[in-house]
């Protein structure tokens, strides 16, 4: 299909060609060979990490937790299977070949029995496990952790009142998704290490530092003896452990090389052996060693702790650059070789799956979603532009090999070079939606306002799906509450009850809304529910912060952190002197709440076309036979359209949140800032919320991130940005990320002109100081989905010169026409 009407995104073009067998992998043979080893496989669970971790913990009871952790890591790397994958240039995987996940029984081992039964048949993110491995889990692992997991401790520690918003009071294995904790299915929020430290010092250097500190301890000090000593000893053991692990790979590569017949592969294996014998123990001497060293560090980290959405990679184009430049100048590296090595790493990432044992964790991360952000671009610590030649290679790799991994994140600032913006736009156009963009103009001032120095703030790294970290200044690791505010709307309508839970009174009894005479009365009632949710979230967080230090320790994670090393404190310690604690709470269903309140304000109190009783009745029966009411509600003002009516409510909601946290987070010693991000967990949260006054049907997804409700943004992408801008309270610093997804039709971005326009759009986004943006270039699948489910895609505009209409307004015949002639011509 060529032509007037076809603008395939290059990503789709490639898939199409792959289907037709016209593969063009020139220069990427190795990469596709590796890809083919695991492409369509269902992930397997590998139990070795959990098994050896448990074995060691049985031996070390009574000792300091961090020491136990370090010893467990050592025990794991002494005993686990090591692998060198075919074709691979990097060594270091922590489980079975193919796609795999590992277990962290210390976190949620109480779910293990149940999970193993359900795992292969789970709808979201299924996993396979062999019978033999299942036996190990059931007989050797699970029994030890009964009564010891963080999850159990948390359910026991939460006050009864808070518990009912968190779990089913009768069955704490079941999350309620109202005020939901996320601390029991991950040991930390998203996190980034200071990888540069490893590359420069090597773990040997860190170990020597710890040894020097040990030698300098005051033998008469109780704190030195009881706290600092075990910490430093743990660091020494952990440094030894990672070196040992690398060495086992060196030996294996060497043995394989001896047997290898193919001289090319033989040399590759010998080179690998040499690298693994040197890094990460010693400082990296060249680019290949730097990449290998980083890879060992992040893989070891994955075994050590289950950080949220998998450990992030930091500013890779910055800390790898000196090695890249040195090798390029010396003529021992080419751009092709550099890309190949990086793609070997991406393929390693793609195989490690963020496995969640608990159904809650699985639901949060549907489709094995993980976000091990690789940050590129941005500014240097002294505030200059940071892009370099390596930055462009990351973009090139994403264009030419658009896998979902890594989660590439480009930092944009208002002096970003034209070439960078242009290549970012070109990469976005490839159709896979990467890179996502993070805005220095929003992030840096906020970090400064929260206490960072300029140097630290300029040097932040993207972490997880939208957050940012200063690896030597951030000290907060506690996972935070996700708050289902659409449930607060429901409770306002049903006087404290929820449709799903029948007569159980969960929220506050704010009165029968039919009695409310004015919008102000209604708004007050909603706010009571809203603030009560915040209160419960903060109580949860207080419990979690104090509980975690008793359950988790992180020897290498702490060893890589300046402040932890200074204070000789594990990263999980509630307070680390000199640190900035950047936490958050998550506003689920922002668009759903705004739209619901806007509809009530307008239709009940202003235009008086509906009564509260009519709306409640319609909600009760999920709008069955109440289409007139549903349509009236659905056509009320909506967030995401640069519509002042809805946006004003959005801003008031934002204000209530930032005011609350301004007042109450200080006493927790943490910035618990308002974050509006999640875009897979809006599904499970929607599943507990009955019909809402925005016309949303019961138990369907709530709105995601800071996006409009599905299909509600009918004014195009500029209006989505403006609504986001309009609803922020810029006078407050108590905000974290907002996630914005923008859909573009390929014709909007086609050609050089399209790139230019996309660049302008990005510049405007940057000047609007919006935190995050990610683009989706609409494809055939989107159109098919829109045809099937028009309600969700009402905002999809067909853009043709001199003409405009909404896709879902077209007849099926015309929709087919558009789908067929395009992919997307002309939209």
């Amino acid at each position: 299909m060529s032509s007037c009407c076809t603008v395939l995104s290059p990503h789709e073009q490639r898939i199409l060609e792959e289907q037709q067998g016209i593969q063009n992998f020139a220069g990427r043979e190795r990469i596709y060979d590796i890809l083919n080893t695991f492409k369509a496989e269902r992930p397997k669970i590998d139990v070795e990490r959990a098994k050896y971790f448990t074995e060691s913990f049985k031996q070390t009871e009574g000792q300091a937790l961090i020491l136990r952790w370090a010893k467990a890591m050592k025990h794991i790397v002494e005993n686990m299977t090591v692998y060198i994958d075919d074709h691979q240039l990097l060594a270091g995987r922590v489980g079975y070949q193919g796609r795999y996940g590992i277990l962290y029984p210390e976190l949620d081992g109480d779910f293990l029995d149940l999970a193993l039964e359900q795992m292969p048949s789970r709808v979201e993110s299924p996993f396979n496990i062999s019978d033999a491995d299942a036996k190990v889990v059931i007989e050797d692992i699970a029994p030890y952790w009964k009564g010891k997991t963080f999850h159990e401790a948390l359910t026991a520690a939460l006050p009864e009142e808070t518990l009912k918003y968190t779990y089913d009071p009768k069955d704490p294995l079941k999350s309620r998704f109202i005020v939901n904790e996320t601390a029991s299915f991950r040991s930390s929020i998203q996190w980034v290490h200071d990888y540069e430290k490893v590359l420069k010092k090597g773990f040997k250097g860190i170990k020597e530092e710890a040894q020097a500190k040990l030698a300098a301890l005051d033998p008469f000090s109780a704190v030195d003896t009881m706290e600092k000593k075990p910490f430093l000893e743990a660091v020494v053991i952990a440094c030894d452990a990672i070196a040992l692990w690398a060495n086992r790979h060196a030996k294996m590569a060497f043995d394989m090389a001896k047997k290898e017949k193919n001289p090319v592969r033989k040399q590759e294996l010998l080179d690998m052996a040499e690298r693994c014998a040197w890094v990460p123990e010693n400082p990296a001497r060249n680019f290949a060693e730097a990449v290998q060293s980083q890879w060992f560090t992040q893989m070891f980290s994955r075994m050590e702790q289950k950080t949220g959405t998998i450990i992030s990679n930091g500013r890779m184009d910055q800390y790898l650059y000196p090695y890249f430049k040195q090798d390029m100048d010396a003529g021992i590296l080419t751009e092709e070789k550099a890309i190949e090595l990086l793609e070997c790493m991406w393929l390693g990432m793609a195989q490690f799956i963020d496995l969640y044992i608990s159904p809650t964790g699985g639901a949060f991360n549907e489709g094995y979603a993980h976000w091990e952000a690789v940050t590129i671009g941005g500014q240097t610590p002294d505030g200059c532009d940071a892009t370099n030649e390596l930055t462009y290679l990351f973009l090139q790799s994403k264009r030419e090999f658009p896998m979902h991994y890594p989660d590439l994140a480009a930092r944009i600032h208002n002096r970003a070079p034209a070439r960078f913006l242009h290549e970012v736009a070109e990469t976005v156009k490839e159709g896979s939606g990467f890179p996502k963009l993070i805005n220095d103009e929003e992030v840096v001032p906020l970090l400064l306002a929260k206490g960072a120095s300029f140097e630290e703030a300029y040097d932040y790294a993207v972490s997880g799906c939208a957050e940012c970290r200063m690896p030597n200044r951030d000290t907060y690791t506690s996972p935070n509450a996700y708050i289902n505010f659409p449930a607060a709307v429901e409770m306002t309508m049903y006087n404290g009850k929820m449709k799903l839970h029948g007569d159980e009174i969960i929220g506050l009894q704010t009165g029968d809304p039919c009695e409310f005479k004015t919008w102000e009365e209604y708004w007050d009632a909603y706010l009571k529910q809203h603030i009560n949710f915040l209160k419960q979230a903060f109580i949860q967080q207080h419990t979690i912060i104090n509980l975690r230090a008793k359950h988790f320790a992180w020897p290498t994670g702490s060893a890589l952190h300046d402040l932890c090393m200074n204070e000789c404190k594990d990263l999980h310690t509630p307070v680390i002197e000199g640190g900035i604690d950047l936490g958050y709470f998550e506003f689920m269903g922002y668009g759903t709440v705004i739209d619901s309140l806007a509809a009530i304000k307008k239709l009940v109190y202003e235009e008086k076309v509906l009564t509260m009783a009519e709306i409640i009745e319609a909600m009760q029966c999920n709008f069955e036979g109440k289409e007139v009411i549903r349509q009236l509600l659905a056509n009320a003002p909506k967030y995401g359209n640069n519509d002042g009516y809805a946006d004003e409510i959005g801003k008031a909601l934002d204000l209530e949140c930032v005011k609350f946290t301004k007042k109450y987070s200080k006493e927790l010693g943490v910035h618990l800032d308002l974050r509006i991000v999640p875009f897979t967990s809006h599904v499970p949260f929607g599943k507990v919320v009955g019909a809402t006054p925005n016309g949303r049907k019961a138990f369907t997804p709530v709105s995601d991130g800071a996006s409009a409700s599905h299909g509600a943004d009918v004014n195009g992408p500029t209006a989505v940005l403006l609504s986001n801008f309009n609803t922020k309270n810029l006078g407050y610093r108590e905000r974290a990320a907002r996630l914005v997804n923008i859909k573009f039709s390929p014709s909007c971005v086609a050609g050089e002109e399209g790139t230019e326009k996309l660049v302008s759009f990005i510049k405007t986004w940057c000047d609007l100081k919006l935190w995050h943006i990610q683009f989706n270039v609409i494809n055939r699948e989107t159109l098919l989905a829109a045809k099937k489910d028009p309600d969700k895609y009402r905002g999809l505009i067909v853009r043709i010169a001199g003409y405009s209409a909404y896709f879902t307004d077209l007849s099926p015949d015309l929709q087919d026409d558009l789908i067929a002639r395009t992919e997307h011509t002309s939209m």
Partner: protein
Amino acid sequence: MNAKNQVNKKMGCVFNVQRYSVHDGPGIRTIIFLKGCPLSCRWCSNPESQYAEPELAFNRNKCIGTSECFRCSTFCAFDAISEAADGKISIDRQKCTKCFRCVAACPSKAMHTFGKMMSAKEVLDSIESESMFYARSGGGITISGGEPLHQIDFVEEIFKEAKRRRIDVTMETCGFADWEKLQRAAGYMKSILFDIKSMDPVKHEEYTGVSNELILQNLQCLREAFPDLQIFVRTPLIPGFNDTEEDIKAILTFIKDMPNVKYELLPYHRMGQQKYEYLDRPYEMIEEKLQDETYSKLQSLVSAKREIH
């Protein structure tokens, strides 16, 4: 009486405001679609643009149906709405007085109005927050239609107000208007989108209802009178009407010696079909599809021309 006219002159009938437009003029733009057009092109994809007055439209897909709803009928004082065989409604266009009470009553927006009377200030107020996108992309607003020159007083009001707010303006015109009107508008613009549909006056009249003489003459005058104005000449490529090499070559020849002119083909699409149904108007658009090969062939003609320049 005079005063009233004065007000009316400054109000215009707008049927759509499309934000984030990237195909109609430089940069990121907002298109303001005005109602009323002197041509009646058979392929018109915006039938709602043709008449100058607001019109009642009915989107069958969105209608809830009379078993649950029928609110429109309750509100219609003229008995113009009845139940249709498919359980939805039909409008008796003879009886309808365009009071639009049914539109206000319809919960699902199945009933809607094409065309809203707005002042230039209202138009600008509604789009000014987008101006930061214009400023960063070299964009602005594009007045389209219909034929904007049909409402030249209103257009001039918009242009004046836009100038005051430092917003770039352009216009998409079919070129069929008194030179005086075009001249008035051209003074405000740095660029203009000008349609040339065919060089053949007979065919032009047959397919659009008017001859092309005035249009061609206007383009020439425009080129001479406003040498700095960037002109984008555009041809909607319509199968069976102008999709031959001769047609396109003739247009290319006509503009060959005009400086500061860019040329673009707009491939035919029948996406407007739905809107004919909304208006209960017969759909007489061309069923034939534009062939991919035809388009590529003609497109390469255009590219070749570009190289010569």
